[in-house]
Symmetry: none
DNA sequence: TATGAATGAGTGTTCATTCAT
DNA sequence: GATGAATGAACACTCATTCAT
């Protein structure tokens, strides 16, 4: 009997938490472990321990390690999108919106470098990426940018032949390249200057020619005015 | 005796090739296997078999699987750099040079998507990347682009406040983003249009304001002059 | 389906034994394999098969092959110590105790030559031996002998300048040397005579000079005294 | 041609030394490497490099790694025996000779702990040890001690029932046990005191009973003398 | 529903020895 | 005789996943 009591005492406290809570715990633990170790090095046993469950329990909610990663990233993305949505709503003006999106993306990478890396290194190269929910979320996430570009094209602020998708690749690709060193833990980057630099380049590259060099326009307006005046005097004469 | 014969029969024909040749064989085999399977899935035994050597022989020349990958990539980069060097020499004009570099890089990815992926996915995220020879080679490889930008800044063709390194990140980042779908084997990309689009965006983003649409301004000024002259004569007449 | 059946057929019958039982099975198997093949030649796969588990299961309980060896030896030592303790309790008299310890140690080697060898050849030369649990167990195991010596010194039966630790080294070293031939499987040794020979040598080497033939001298002195008294009285009379 | 010269320059300088010199070089290198790394960890390639030869050359003179070890040890033993022979010649008196042999053996271990260990750990446990030349050399080496014991038995200094071989095992076994800690690099030992202690124990354990406790004998002689005197006086009376 | 013991496939690496040159 | 490139066998260890209890 004494032995039995001992065994019972040793037994992990079985607690029946609502599934949602369990899932949240597991995902939080998984997020932390994936961030610390990367996908390959992360151990299911580590995640289980940190979540306060046994390995088997993880498989009740997630088909496998990969799905766990995917779900963690999906959650992160979802939250990201909502947050951006809210903040973006108050932005006015193409340049401001552009700069905001770039700035926020850089900020996201700075706040969650590990998760960003997991997307870049593990998820995106995967053959099943297109077709995945993460792909779809990324679409939504980056759509804001293409929307801004498209809108500016329509108002004539941007060239009619500008390619929103190319702009998207340029912005996100540039940011990624620029932050690899940071993602490798080799030191921080200058967020504001980088955001300004990118926004500036992109804006200049897209802005309509006629709108572009305002002084030329001004001069032309002057000329037009003079002509009008001349024409006006001629009319008076005619 | 039967056993002995069997053993003897199993023995691979021993051939003593010069080390260089062996190394080349192994690297060729490794390149092929890495390209087909990716780094993780590639088996040393596969590589050995394809190279016509036993596994142990690989370790005479390469410390481990990782070094083998690195050496394969290094060789590839080296050849790339030399090839570009040659072809680039005859390019004249900033825009042409820009377009050439972009076009060639896209071509490289199309010709060697697997090796490109290995760099993006395996080598670049590695904590030891900075400090590796591949990092250095990539520096050299991308230097052509920053040189072009710097030169154009000096001649005044590009804005004085343009950032060559940002341009580099923008170009290579954009290309990478644009080609991920292709790298995932989801279909080809439009090389020429992509090259044109990127070159155009970059050029417009960098060109000096005063120089910007030089012909346009000139032509407008001419038109204005003519109009003024016309107006003037009209006035004189009036 | 046929393949699936094959796979299923291959699957070992899964049985969930209590951990203690599993550990015991594995240690028993390991003990046997180590004894048969020696440490180097022993294969984990052999041990697993003999224990009726897969290799991976061994690593649930033992960090590595070395730890498995150590644990097997520890268990053996522990049992040894307990057994000796019990049997030794009834021994009276220094010589008897000495002889008992020597005899038992020889017996242990005869019963478990393979494990003895593993200690002599694998564990004791190891840089980490001191500080290991086996070292501690060996200390306890050999302490009986030094205790006997110390006790005999205190009663004056043994010389005051005798060194218990030297006696220990002499006894165990001698036994080891004497049994190497047996440990090499070159034939048995004469247990009783060896035990007697060692006990005798050690006893003679340690016993106090004055105490040596204590009764003999005393009795002779008494006799002499009586004779002297007798002679004295005779003289007085004479 | 330039390349050929380069290759030629890289080629190891081929020198034809007399075989004896080669063998000596290899054995010296092997001794050093075995001592540093132990048998298992020692690499033939290391030995070859240190000896200034290629691996293949070692196999011209030694059948395999094991033989190389054996030959190194044999040489060492041979030199040892000769040295002892010379020094021992001048020793007079059983105790002195005993003490000398013990002292010299301790000295040998202190001077060559690594080689000593190789004998204890690698060679002696080997199934082929008996029958090996090293076994024979060890016999010769330890014969000095049994000779001394035998001689002392013959002169009556030692008990007639003393066992020379047991003494041998006791002496060498004790020394070995005593020095394991040193052999494990855990600190030095007190050579002189150890030698004295062992010699003393052994001598006392072996010396004839009649010779044994000289004071007892003396006292008995005194008693006897008194008795004789008493008897003498009685006789005078009688 | 939770547990966690058991599974078992999978592979990079070492190095003594050989032998073509 | 010397070289040293090539051989190739051999094996401990990991860990995601399953499933009996």
């Amino acid at each position: 009997m004494a032995v039995e009591q001992l065994v019972r005492a040793k037994r992990r406290k079985v607690s029946r938490l609502p599934a949602e809570r369990r899932i949240a715990d597991i995902m939080a633990a998984a997020g932390a472990v994936f961030a610390e170790k990367g996908y390959q090095e992360a151990l299911i046993s580590d995640i289980a321990e940190r979540a306060g469950v046994v390995e088997g329990s993880i498989y009740r909610f997630f088909a496998n390690k990969r799905e766990l990663l995917v779900r963690v990233v999906e959650d992160w993305y979802q939250a990201l999108i909502e947050e951006e949505e809210e903040l973006f709503a108050s932005m006015r003006g193409t340049w401001n919106q552009l700069r905001f999106i770039i700035h926020r993306h850089l900020l996201t990478i700075r706040r969650d470098p590990a998760l960003s890396r997991l997307v870049f290194q593990e998820l995106r190269p995967d053959p099943g990426y297109r077709g995945s929910q993460v792909f779809e979320l990324n679409r939504i996430y980056t759509h804001k940018l293409t929307d801004v570009v498209r809108a500016a094209i329509e108002t004539g602020e941007f060239r009619a032949d500008a390619s929103p998708s190319l702009v998207r690749d340029m912005v996100y690709g540039c940011i990624e390249h620029r932050t690899w060193s940071f993602l490798r833990n080799e030191g921080d980057f200058d967020l504001d200057n980088t955001a300004d630099g990118i926004a500036d380049m992109i804006y200049r590259g897209l802005v309509s020619d006629r709108a572009k060099p305002p002084d030329v326009v001004e001069r032309l307006e002057e000329v037009a005015a003079r002509l009008e005046r001349a024409a006006g005097s001629g009319q008076e004469n005619g």
